[in-house]
């Protein structure tokens, strides 16, 4: 990075650290912060949408739809995210490829499953095997977002489902008695009011989501904890210009500070949202 970094073994401490902290590997580490933040920024609304859909489905009057909604909530919510990540991404990826295969290669004669191998026609591969590396990474990122959203969507669905039921009955009766259709009651009375009841649960979910990002490496996305472990581990002279003993403690402490700060900021934002939402509510915390 810096011009004086040509021979690290000769550098004095400050310079050594300046060089050390700007190696290509560290830059990847810094990048991974952005990756994680981007992933959170995309996952949160997606998961919320999944949750909303799940809650609506679970409330549906049409039995199969309600079963689907309730099944989604019960099953996905029942599985630890880590267990889910260990096999679900591969299944998801194979699922997509299988669909594309059915569409793009109708006359493909060879079986897709050959022993242990999963083989679709080359044009159905996702991404195409000759696609540049960044497309592979974007696709991996997309799969990670989707998996996270499916998992956390189930929890969000549960929170929203409960919130919808927490609204005082009088409020719904008033709506009914003014001739609002169930649909109108839902969108005009339930949805605006449910946030008040849902927000604590959703805030908690957001916190859990932030804390789940270290599992990203299971999904093939190199996250900050992955890099901290990689960079903090003993660097031997043979393999690195910047040898050092096991420094993982320091890297993890740095991550701790990052996560704490991020949580604080999230809390401040959520508090403001909450203050806005509880307007008009006669509760201890309301105004």
């Amino acid at each position: 990075m810096f011009s004086f970094c040509t021979d690290p073994s000769t550098l004095e401490t400050a310079q050594w650290f300046a060089c050390y902290l700007t190696t290509g590997k560290h830059q990847l580490f810094y990048w991974s912060f952005l990756t994680v933040l981007a992933l959170l920024a995309i996952t949160a609304p997606t998961a919320l949408a999944f949750g909303f859909g799940g809650a609506i489905a679970a409330r549906s009057n049409i039995p199969p739809v309600a079963w689907f909604g309730k099944g989604y909530i019960a099953i996905v919510r029942g599985v630890p995210d880590i267990a889910f990540f260990l096999f679900f991404v591969i299944a998801l990826d194979q699922g997509f490829e299988w669909l594309r295969h059915q569409m793009l290669c109708p006359d493909w004669s060879e079986p897709i499953r050959q022993g242990n191998d999963f083989l679709v026609c080359p044009s159905a591969k996702l991404p195409l095997s000759n696609a540049p590396q960044w497309i592979h990474e974007v696709y991996g990122f997309f799969l990670a977002v989707l998996t996270f959203a499916i998992v956390f969507g189930a929890f969000a669905a549960n929170v929203l489902f409960g919130a919808m039921r927490a609204i005082p009955r009088g409020q719904l009766e008033a709506a009914e008695s003014y001739g609002m259709t169930p649909r109108q009651t839902f969108w005009r009375i339930i949805v605006p009011q449910m946030w008040v009841y849902a927000l604590p649960g959703l805030s908690n979910l957001w916190m859990v989501l932030i804390k789940a990002t270290p599992l990203l490496f299971l999904l093939g996305v190199e996250d900050i904890v992955y890099w901290a472990r990689e960079l903090g581990g003993t660097a031997l002279e043979r393999f690195s210009d910047y040898p050092h003993p096991d420094w993982r403690l320091w890297y993890f402490l740095a991550l701790l500070i990052f996560y704490l700060a991020f949580t604080r900021v999230s809390e401040a934002v959520l508090r403001r949202i909450n203050a806005r939402l509880t307007r008009g509510q006669a509760t201890i915390g309301g105004t």
């Binding site: 050959q114 299971l218 581990g233 393999f239």
Partner: protein, 220 residues
């Protein structure tokens, strides 16, 4: 340029076989070996890192085309994937401890979770303490949680060389076979090309040069 792109899957966390250098690039013995093999087989190679636990499932699922990650050829693995011929002879396992008189039969020995070493120790009736990463196993020896760690000799040797407080015990254990490149069973064509390339490197001695350079095992 070469028409066909071959994606090479590795772990990037097992020096000297494969690791990430200061620039975050895959480096090590297998990086140099793989690049050379691709050149000889006239293929364009892309390097991908993948976490060890799912490295085989992702290969058979088609997310990359080879595994070149210090993987010993075992019967279990051979049932699921195919291996090229071995590019290194078996690398024996060794013990690393803080002193030469560490108790490796009655004491506690550390190993990485799910490795052949962990299985071997359990079989011997030794109290095995399993850690998630290789780094942890070495730390466990340092802080006294374990009397010794059992791992591949090539992995432990640099640690012993660079740390005064760590020593390699003399006892060696032969586990597993030689290391080869994993390919899908249906990918006979790639296997053949790589086999030929490895053979040519064996024949002209370049492979031995590489092995010596990186100290990954004995030579052919």
């Amino acid at each position: 340029s070469h028409a066909e792109v071959v994606r090479m899957g590795t772990e990037g966390a097992y020096a000297p076989w494969n690791f990430l250098d200061d620039n975050g690039e895959v480096a090590g013995f297998e990086r140099e070996l793989g690049d050379e093999l691709c050149a000889r087989a006239e293929l364009t190679c892309e390097w991908v890192t993948n976490e060890w636990d799912s490295i085989i499932p992702n290969l058979v699922s088609g997310n990359y085309d080879t595994i070149i990650a210090g993987m010993s050829i075992t019967d279990e693995r051979d049932e699921v994937i195919d291996f090229t011929q071995a590019y290194t002879p078996p690398d024996p396992s060794a013990y690393l401890a803080t002193s030469m008189d560490a108790d490796i039969t009655g004491g506690v020995v550390a190993a990485q979770t799910g490795t052949i070493q962990a299985g071997y120790l359990a079989e011997q009736g030794v109290t095995v303490l399993e850690f998630a990463t290789p780094e942890d196993t070495i730390a466990a020896v340092r802080n006294g949680e374990a009397d010794a760690v059992l791992a591949d000799q090539s992995f432990l040797a640099p640690f012993a060389a660079e740390n005064a407080d760590l020593v390699m015990l003399e006892e060696l254990v032969s586990l597993g076979g030689g290391v080869g490149m994993g390919v899908r069973e249906s990918d006979g064509e790639l296997k053949a090309k790589m086999d030929a390339a490895i053979q040519s490197m064996k024949d002209d001695g370049t492979l031995n040069e590489l092995i010596t350079k990186w100290e990954v095992s004995s030579t052919w």
